[in-house]
Amino acid sequence: MIKIQKKNFNLEEEIDKIKNKHSDIGAQTSFVGYVRDLNNNKDVKYLNLEVYEEMAFKELSKIENNALKKWSLIDTLIIHRYGKLNVNEKIVLVSCFSQHRKDSFNACEFIMDYLKKDAPFWKNEFYYKDDEWLENSK
């Protein structure tokens, strides 16, 4: 499942909603990204996160499908926020559900790597004096 939304989300609720559908899940690995207080050696005020929404759905679906082909997964969940995000707020959740733990670890890391590389989101980070558009490192 892929969600692209402005609003915050609750980890317990989102993960539980998927877990409750499958009693054969034994393992769940998730990654959460947050807005940090300091970046490029400057105090961060907030992020403005822009998305190309139609393409983000397509790209994330491709990445999710590639993960499902590579590992034995029962379900996956990706939530990516956009809009104004303050320091300490959650930006993204990737959660992978499987019978055994290695599949969920590997798939979660794989999805995050490709999300960072290809999913069309852009962080415009605002400091106290100026702002900057970020680029993910390779």
């Binding site: 996160l49 822009e50 190309y52 397509k58 990516h80 590389k117 069309p120 852009w122 558009w133 680029e135």
Partner: protein, 81 residues
């Protein structure tokens, strides 16, 4: 043909998109030439090869032929996650 701009590309174009009705570019190479004329500040970014192109919400190779119905997107390296 609709051309959409994202992130700091919009600071150069001063708009979200352009729509080209006649004589639309047939390839990404032609599109770059077309946009350089409209927005000279884009030229150096094309030269540095930092921008990415998507056609109908998919990354494309440069030799794809473009159709009037296509939605093209031009954007800088992504930074989600």
């Amino acid at each position: 043909m609709r051309i959409r701009y994202f992130a700091w590309i919009k600071d150069i174009t001063n708009k979200d998109d352009d729509v080209i009705d006649i004589n639309h570019p047939k390839t990404i190479q032609e599109l770059k030439k077309y946009l350089e004329n409209l927005y000279p500040d884009l030229r150096k970014h094309f030269l540095h090869d930092v921008l990415r192109f998507a056609v109908n919400q998919e990354y494309v190779s440069e030799n794809l032929s473009l159709k009037p119905i296509d939605e093209i997107a031009i954007f800088p390296p992504v930074s989600g996650g």
